[in-house]
């Protein structure tokens, strides 16, 4: 009885498949009807997630500009997410303005989903030269600008003085010019108790900061025009082998990661306060986490290249206008209001006042706009008398001079995925650095060739 049913069921399933196969020729997705622009009185913004005082302050300024024009702004709190943005494009529910990672701009520009900002810059008289070159390089595709960068997030090394003192390591040993010395310091700093890792020595922060380690040699992961991946250069392989070695000194990636996953990364009892790390390179915003947390003793230092010169990598978000935006003109006005020197100055001032009231250090704001940075540092910033933080700010202010950014490619998302996957394979012990980067090179180049 049951068997007969199942047999019939199989037969029917089979015939459905055949029917489906036969009928497939007639199925056609309908062509899209012309998309008519409507007179927008609402500006739809997408991609700005959690908002701190600085973000909210800038939004308030820009919203007021829109209100004066009789435009309402719809800007739900929701971080940029590829899946959601693609779904909105597909449904032609296209926002007027998006906030996305600079690393994703290339993919969307190549997919024809963003409009170049040349007209916008001209119309609103936004000074391109005021922006940091490295940050602009991250959002320029085929000579056209597709986004206006926001922060710089320059990377410096944070040294946990207490940990160094306990381990008997000199601050001078925490440097990246001499890799041998750094490796020795790493081994001395890391701590294993009863077979369990309780302090990381020097965290090289790979895969995230891998481009920085390759730049140590003066090399880039991709050609300037973003069309030729160079992931398996001799230098890249050497950088990967070295940084993986730093991690393996801790007893392997598994031990390392499992330990790091339990940190209270942004909390009061963060890894410096909890003595869970000796030193590591980190983005500029992290100094505020340190200022908010339990008391720490730290030193900020430059990441240096092989010749001892300072080196830092920029990354962050940008504002972009999608193709299909119902009102690119308004979107451009909004960008201008958000990013003007005055806006930056105003929000920096309120943050400074807020921090002062809370009795906490103001660790600066680091934007892609050089003029804004100068204003913030000269007009607003005041040393707070905590030498650690004051020195850090002085360092961060100078850092962007030594900055680079990974050039943008038409398959920027896939490109990054290729090298992060490769590094993970090496960390997991499945491939040698050479094998992994060779494979990444093939994957990345194929993706770029397909997208360009």
């Amino acid at each position: 009885m049951v068997k007969r049913w199942s047999k019939t069921a199989l037969v029917v399933a089979g015939s459905v498949v055949c029917m489906v196969a036969a009928g497939s020729a007639s199925a056609k997705p309908d062509e899209l009807a012309g998309y008519t622009a409507t007179q927008a009185t609402t500006l739809e913004i997408y991609g700005l997630g959690g908002r701190d005082d600085v973000a909210q302050g800038r939004l308030d300024i820009a919203n007021k500009v829109m209100r004066d024009l009789g435009v309402t702004v719809n800007n739900p709190v929701s971080g940029f997410n590829n899946q959601a943005f693609l779904a909105r494009l597909a449904a032609r529910d296209i926002p007027d303005l998006v906030h996305m990672g600079r690393g994703d701009i290339g993919t969307y520009a190549a997919r024809n989903a963003l409009v170049p900002l040349g007209n916008c810059l001209n119309a609103e008289k936004i000074d391109r030269k005021a922006y940091r070159q490295a940050a602009l390089a991250e959002v320029t595709y085929k000579g056209q600008l597709y986004g206006l960068p926001e922060f710089t997030n320059q990377i410096t090394i944070i040294v946990n003085n207490d940990a160094l003192a306990k381990a008997g390591v000199n601050t001078a040993d925490i440097q990246t010019t001499n890799w041998k010395r750094l490796k020795q310091a790493n081994k001395k700093l890391l701590k294993v108790e009863n077979g369990r890792l309780t302090r990381i020595g020097f965290d090289p922060k790979i895969p995230e900061f891998f481009p920085l380690w390759v730049k140590w040699f003066g090399k880039d992961l991709i050609s300037k025009d973003g069309l030729k991946a160079q992931l398996n250069s001799r230098e890249a392989v050497a950088a990967l082998a070295y940084t993986v070695g730093l991690i393996n000194d801790h007893g392997g990636w598994n031990k390392f990661k499992a330990f790091r996953d339990t940190w209270d990364f942004f909390g009061r009892n963060n890894q410096v306060a909890a003595d869970q790390v000796g030193a590591w390179p980190m983005e500029s915003f992290y100094y505020q986490v340190l200022a908010d947390g339990n008391k720490v003793n730290f030193t900020a230092k430059y990441f240096t290249n092989r010749k001892g010169g300072p080196l830092t990598m920029l990354s962050g978000n940008a504002w972009a206008i999608p193709r299909g935006s119902k009102n690119p003109g308004l979107a451009c006005k909004y960008i201008k209001a958000l990013q003007s020197v005055d806006s930056w100055r105003t929000v920096a001032k309120s943050r400074f006042d807020l921090r002062k009231r809370q009795g906490r250090a103001f660790t600066g704001l680091y934007t892609a706009n050089t003029q804004a940075d100068v204003k913030i540092y000269e007009d607003i910033y005041q040393p707070i008398g905590n030498k650690d933080f004051d020195d850090a700010v002085a360092l961060l202010v100078r850092a962007p001079r030594y900055a680079f950014a990974v050039p943008l490619s038409p398959a920027s998302t896939e490109f990054k995925l290729a090298w992060t996957d490769a590094i993970n394979r090496v960390l997991e012990g499945r491939q040698t650095p050479r094998q992994a980067l060779d494979q990444a090179q093939r994957e990345a180049q194929a993706a770029i060739d397909k997208a360009k």
């Binding site: 049913w5 029917v12 998309y35 209270d264």
Partner: protein, 342 residues
């Protein structure tokens, strides 16, 4: 606790027809539930009971760990103690402005209470709809004799084996087209938005019955003596009123099983909301919990706020445990019935 006698079942169709009728599959299953096969003596049972008690610890321990972890302050979660050294209430209340004191129901930008409510109403609506629509179809397949019946029923059985992944993409594209049509610029703009990024795609398909429930209910209807229907026919009942007045009330136990199964399925579903929903206010609990994990967990450069994640997990798990406690019989008998379809 164990399978009881059939008269413990909610009396099907009380007041409509005679209460003493066989309860289809469920009834038959219960009837032969007890006292068959060899059994251990009480004494011989003892070592096995001890063994099972040991295994029970494995089954229950994760729940206890979870609840206890959700009541610990940040940093104590991984001390793996069942009784917290220090208690912390991570669920409700006003957090202090300094980071590190968030509460589950007061998380910035994550409306957890709304998610609970969304899960409840979508689950209930979807379950009731699918129970009703499947029952109508099942009734037709059990009562009527019509040309094409066996082929169509075999087709229903065949669709049960169809992996959801095959239709997932095109069904999404259908909803995507509907989104464009009901948008301001679309040709059906007078309709409310019912496409992508609304909750409609999560329950509208339940209007059309579901293969497995149709199968289950049909088996049940087949157990109802035909005489009952013929008597109603003679009394002048139409087909639909026969379905409503006789078949539905008698099938109550099976309908409850269907409702519970579908409620559970919706409560578990991550893929559907993940595909269709974007705005956090629309989320159901599974997607909400995943969002909490992504934001507060260590993986995404988050903060490693595991006590909040654990509290969210408790809120997702607990309602099912309560539902199970109340309707245990239907869970167990429903699952057992599933095995009989083989």
């Amino acid at each position: 606790m164990s399978a009881g006698a059939p008269d413990n079942l909610p009396t099907a169709g009380a007041g409509v027809v005679s209460p003493r009728i066989p309860h289809g599959l469920l009834g038959r299953l219960l009837a032969r539930g007890r006292g068959e096969g060899p059994r251990f003596s009480r004494l011989k049972s003892l070592p096995f009971v001890l063994l099972l008690t040991g295994i029970s610890v494995l089954a229950v321990y994760p729940f206890l760990w979870l609840i206890s972890a959700s009541l610990k302050p940040q940093g104590d979660v991984f001390d793996n103690k069942l009784i917290p050294d220090q208690w912390a209430w991570n669920y409700t209340g006003d957090p202090s402005p300094v980071g590190g004191d968030e509460r589950l129901f007061a998380l910035p930008d994550l409306p957890v209470l709304t998610w609970v409510w969304n899960s409840v109403w979508i689950g209930l609506l979807a379950a009731l709809l699918v129970a009703f629509s499947s029952a109508i179809v099942a009734f037709a397949f059990s009562y009527f004799r019509f040309p094409g019946r066996n082929a169509l029923f075999a087709l229903i059985l065949a669709t049960m084996m169809l992996p959801g992944a095959v239709t997932m993409i095109p069904v999404y594209l259908i909803w995507n087209e509907i989104t464009k049509l009901t948008a301001e610029s679309g040709s059906l703009s007078f309709l409310p938005d019912i496409g992508v990024n609304t909750q409609y795609p999560l329950w509208v398909p339940n209007l059309f019955g579901s293969a497995f429930y149709i199968f289950l209910l049909r088996q049940f209807f087949l157990g109802i003596p035909r005489d009952l229907f013929e008597a109603a026919r003679i009394d002048g009942d139409g087909y639909f009123s026969m379905f409503r007045r006789i078949a539905l009330p008698l099938a109550k136990p099976a309908l409850i099983v269907v409702v519970i199964f579908e409620l559970q399925a919706k409560w578990f579903d991550l893929l559907g909301p993940l595909i269709y929903l974007r705005d956090t206010a629309l989320f159901t609990l599974p997607l909400g919990l995943k969002t909490i994990l992504d934001q507060q967990g260590a993986g995404g450069g988050g903060e490693g706020r595991w006590e909040i994640i654990m509290a969210g997990t408790v809120v997702t798990v607990l309602p099912m445990v309560i539902l199970f406690a109340v309707f245990q019989r239907f869970f167990i008998e429903g699952i057992a019935t599933q095995g009989r379809k083989g």
